[in-house]
Amino acid sequence: MRYQQYLAWSVLLRLFHWSFALSVVVLVTTGFYINFPWTNTMLEGGRSFPVATMFYIHFIAAFVFTAAILARLYLLLFGNRQERFWDFLPITPKNIANLFKTIANYLYISDKYDRRPGHNTLAGTFYIVTFIMALVQVLSGFYMLYPENVVWQTWGLWLLGPLQHARYLHYLIMWYFILFAFIHLYIVVWTDIWHKEGLISSIVNGRKFTPDKS
């Protein structure tokens, strides 16, 4: 079978993906440490600052994460065809049909794969859920970072309540990101094996494959 190659993902989207992915790894690692600093220095005068350093790395990664989210927000509205949100949300009859076909295919009920130039609707829906979760992480995170700032205090209190609510939510949503990363990795590997569209390499070089109809 012959395949055609086409550009699916812009450079900005690929940059978003990898800065987002790497920042999540760093944020989860340092976040676990911040929640429960499992080391105990015990000795005084060592001039080592493990907790302060972990916080510092966490904050740097958080700014990368925020920048990635802003880039994705721009692409959701002004990206190429595959990157805009109406391409992959179940809001048109065609997209809704794709959602059910994809679920059936993933569950081995149907062998038919409803090929999409960009995301399938199931993946796209969860990407939007993840995007909203990321916004909550950014808001709760900045609320905890700048608790005395009037702007963050106003928004934080209005949307999340006292700081302890923000801390609790921030921690629970971290688990969402761990689960998402785990399932995401499984599904891309699975899809890459079963459907020959070069899915994994597409997030590196931006190009996907489609069967040559001619």
Partner: protein, 368 residues
């Protein structure tokens, strides 16, 4: 009844030295220069200072106790001396109809001029019947007194945010003053109990400048609640350097290390406790080896418990009432279930491929 009625005994009077000292402490807490102290003193001794009506609702009188008890005699007496306390159920001599008459007289005589201090939450459920004074509900009394006051000072977490009686499931529908009073300026002095200096500072600020101090988004005066306890804590260096108490009584605890891992809520709690401290002896919870329990924050009974763990427990949806577990345990379990699901899915896929390959006897083609 005026303040003179309980000033009969000599020991209830404040000498000049204590008075100036108290005003200076309040000036320091407010962040004012020492040159402002005479102005504070003048305002505090002015004959035109507004009378105070002190209302008790759903509370334990702990705020009043912490203000007046012998552990803090000077400040307690100073407050009684500075404010003209016309109605206070705990300390006034009058009782019954006589006391209620004093309240009526004060609020009509000083309409729009007196200060109303509220201590305790206000139950709203079932017509507010869970707190009644002289046959009237707390809601009624507050609705009558608060609109006539120049300002309302909610003292304690109960009056500010509802406190322990507003904790889940809040059987009496308790709320704080800010949920009921809309058109009178309100200042919240939360804490369980709050520091008397914060109350004194607020009152002196009002007497001196004729307006309430600047507040944060929760109506707490910034001079007392403007910064996180964590950022002013004397044990903060131990936190940054990763020296932690693992359990109460261990070597690290004896060394005075950070209490973060035994549930200190200093990060996320706003108060001047580390700076102002309590009882005139320089003590405060973290200083004596117990983590902050976050008592100045809204909903602290719900969100700051368990007091010796970092985060509140997760209520399991659909798990029936009272099933609560740690957030980490929930995350680990969901991750375990997901891993099992992924394993089954992968096994089915491999099985399917093996069956298919046997049938077609070559590598499977793209299934379009």
């Amino acid at each position: 009844m005026s303040r003179h009625d309980f000033g009969n005994e000599g020991n209830m009077r404040v000498d000049r030295r204590t008075f100036i000292k108290g005003c200076t402490m309040a000036a320091a807490a407010l962040g004012l220069s020492e040159t402002m102290v005479p102005k504070l003193v003048a305002a505090a001794t002015s004959a035109q200072r507004p009378p105070v009506v002190w209302l008790h609702f759903q509370e334990c009188t702990g705020c009043t106790e912490s203000l007046l008890r012998a552990s803090h005699p000077d400040i307690g007496r100073l407050i009684l001396d500075i404010i003209s306390l016309d109605y206070h159920e705990t300390v006034m001599a009058a009782a019954g109809h006589q006391a209620e008459q004093v309240l009526q007289e004060t609020i009509s005589k000083y309409d729009g001029k007196f200060i109303c201090v509220v201590e305790g939450g206000i139950p709203t459920k079932d017509g507010g019947i869970y707190c009644k004074i002289g046959g009237r509900t707390a809601v009624d009394i507050l609705a009558e007194v608060a609109p006539k006051a120049a300002a309302v000072i909610a003292i304690g977490t109960c009056a500010s945010f509802g406190g322990i009686q507003a904790a889940k499931p809040n059987p009496t529908g308790a709320v704080g003053v800010r949920d009921l009073v809309k058109n009178t300026p309100i200042i919240n002095i939360p804490g369980c109990p709050p520091n008397p200096i914060s109350f004194l500072g607020t009152v002196l600020h009002y007497l001196t400048f004729k307006r309430l101090p600047r507040t944060d988004q929760l109506g707490r005066p910034l001079f007392a609640y403007g910064r996180e306890i964590h950022d002013q804590c004397e044990r903060r260096a131990h936190f940054d350097e990763g020296r932690f108490v693992e359990q109460f009584g261990d070597e690290a605890h004896r060394q005075g290390f950070c209490l973060y891992k035994v549930g200190c809520k200093g990060p996320g709690t706003f108060s001047n406790c580390p700076a102002v401290r309590f009882n005139g002896v320089g003590a405060w919870p973290v200083g004596v080896g117990h983590g902050c329990i976050g008592c100045t924050e809204p909903e602290f009974w719900d969100t700051m418990t368990p007091f010796y763990e970092r985060l509140p427990g997760v209520t399991i949806p659909g798990g029936g009432k009272g099933i609560v577990t740690g957030a980490t345990s929930v995350g680990m379990k969901i991750l375990g279930v997901t891993a099992a699901a992924v394993g089954i899915h992968a096994a089915v896929g491999i099985g399917k491929r093996v069956v298919k390959c046997k049938k077609c006897n070559n590598t499977p083609d793209e299934q379009e």
